[in-house]
Amino acid sequence: MRAFRRLRRNFEHGVHPAHFKEQTADLPIQRVPFGKDYVMPLGQHIGVPAQAIVTAGERVTRGQLIAEPGGFVSTGLHSPVTGTVREIGDFRGVDGRFAPAIAIEADAFATQQVDAGDGIDWEALSLEEFIKAVQMAGIVGMGGAAFPAHVKLSVPDGVTIRHLLINGAECEPYLTTDHRLMLERPEALLEGAEIMRQKLGAEETVIGIEANKPDAIKIIQQHIAPGDPVRVVPLKVKYPQGAEKMMIKSVFNVEVPAGQLPRDVGVNVNNVGTIVAIADYFLRGIPLIERVVTVAGPGVTYPANLIVPLGTPVRDVVKFCGGLKPGTREMIMGGPMMGRPIASLDVPILKGCSGVLVFTEAETARRKEYPCISCGRCLEACPYFLNPSRLARLSKARMFDEMKAYNVFDCVECGCCTFACPSNIPIVQLIRTAKDDLTHRKEPDA
């Protein structure tokens, strides 16, 4: 019977990319030395950008609040270093556009010790105060989307959260940040999970980990005290196992209907990094000022798992890793399936940046695109049961409005279809283009 249940721990469709994690999976997390220039974009989470509360020339200390949330779906920002605010202006972001940011020059002689208290008596906080505290701490989903964590915690009346699901799948190739966090800080993970579980009023905590990380599964199981409402669920190695709806299907065998959220089936999903950030804030008083980043790929001299202060330019991170190998062609922020290529080494590490991947000519050469042969592999790959082939054709013909009938907005851009396509059609890019057109197209004035 148990074996039978294990077989079900899966979702339908998806793809099996080679995981390439051996490069960094065994490397302990190390700290990057502090550099000089830091750039904190005000809009590094999904939603409304934060509002700066410091002025140029002002002295800031590490962990000090430098920007307040600009609305409900927005979070605070804290200075990653002790130093001086150099400028508040427009700086190039990950998407290539210039956006408002706070530039901070680190003080070369400061200790860079976080000036934090002993943490917060979280048990005494009401739910509203707790949500407000998470928002001010600047905690966002650390898996890559950077969706403010407090918004997920704000459950409307009538909805009960029964399970807290912790996402340790890390299904993207190359990335090992969650893996290393689980290995090195299992106590922090379980402490953070307990805070979240009690505040959400959930019955149990479930930690979903892909089966290719047996060491992480073992270590966490060792740290769970008997009787704790926590269990670890090994999951099949498959992409996108870490997409929250896929994980819910794998763990609970429940499908989240299109257009609904995990909370509608009584589940709250959070990334391992987010949970550790919660523990760091409420138990140690450290707001979100740094994160773990995997620097890997064939183009980097010394791959590593690093603790990087937010706002560090990619240039400094790469320099610490021994620089780029000759023949480097492309750098990606995030994972290779869903991450975005960056056009400049000066863009900063953001809250949602889980990896910096460096590729050479051999991996990035664009293969010749052939016409769609209607083989249907993208349909078999799509975990959301869309028709990527049809969507791509419509997008190529610029028939964006027609794509709504094919549920283009249910696409999460996981990249399975493009990975599966034998004709090398950039399906996800075409779908992204259409979604951008449908949401941002300027309607001519009538």
Binding site: D95, G96, R97, R340, T433, D437, E443
Partner: protein, 280 residues
């Protein structure tokens, strides 16, 4: 035999019954449509582009016959067609200034500095989503021709420099290219307005010229050289206000080192087919 005849008889009966109702309805509920609407509609181009502000050509024809719009408000028709319509309806053709679409960017492949190479689907909107498409300037033309595809009238062609060349003869000032451009660079301006700012960088000084060799560095010389009040600087770019200032004269552009403000007669980028590599 009998039962065979019943079915046709019922069908004929039903047919006659509804036929009578239709005949009566046609007589008493008839809507008189002005026959001129159809003729006018025939004379209109029939592209349903919406440039006149109406949802299509037929509603425009209805308004023409009603006399609430001028024939010349159809910017897509040729002059002869508009005169024909005016003659037919016995109204004044009205005077609508010819508008053309102009690009607020002069930074083609030779001028805008490239910071990365873009590989992927050849479309501006697609490229804009991937780190801004490779050009250092994140406000300028991406040069992949979404407007060329969108243009209904075959008026836009990408030139050798990677900028859309708008054929002022063919351009009907429908807003297709305005809507297609992901950087919102097209502007519909009267052909008779010669002064035009072809840059969209909200940066000043070296910050701007680092990104593009023909960027407006907000030096303000054009403001000083033009008639008082005609040009003002807004957001580090010159803004030409025809209503506020004196007459526009080509002197305003003489000292512009980067040609980001120009005196246009006819097409934009006329010299670009043969332009030598500029200071990249």
């Amino acid at each position: 035999m009998n039962s065979l005849l019943v079915a046709p008889a019922i069908m004929v009966g039903i047919g006659l019954f509804f036929g009578t109702i239709l005949a009566i309805a046609q007589r008493f509920l008839k809507v008189d449509e002005d026959p001129r609407i159809e003729v006018t509609n025939e004379l209109l181009p029939g592209t349903n582009c919406g440039a006149c502000g109406q949802p299509g050509c037929l509603p425009f024809a209805e308004k023409l016959v009603a006399g609430t719009v001028d024939p010349s408000q159809c910017t897509v028709s040729t002059k002869e067609n508009i005169e024909q319509i005016a003659e037919f309806l016995e109204v004044d053709a009205g005077s609508q200034e010819k508008l053309v679409s102009r690009l607020r960017c002069n930074g083609g492949g030779l001028q805008a500095h490239q910071i990365a190479e873009y590989q992927g689907f050849e479309g501006c909107r697609a490229a804009a989503m991937v780190s801004g498409g490779g050009k250092g300037c994140s406000w300028g033309c991406l040069g992949l021709g979404d407007c060329e595809v969108a243009c209904t009238f075959d008026a836009i062609h990408m030139n050798k420099n990677g900028l859309p060349q708008v054929d002022t003869e063919k351009c009907r000032a429908c807003p297709d290219c305005v809507a297609a451009c992901p950087r919102d660079l097209f502007e519909l301006v009267p052909l008779s307005q010669n002064l035009f700012v072809q840059c969209n960088i909200p940066l000043a000084g070296e910050a701007a010229t680092q990104l593009c060799s023909v960027a407006c560095d907000a030096c303000g010389k054009c403001v000083a050289d033009a008639a008082p009040g005609l040009i003002r600087m807004e957001n580090n770019l010159p803004v030409i206000d025809y209503s506020a200032g004196g007459p526009a004269a080509p002197e305003a552009v003489f000292r512009c080192a980067t040609r980001s403000i120009v005196w246009l007669e006819g097409e934009q980028f006329q010299d670009q087919e043969s332009r030598k590599a500029g200071g990249v």
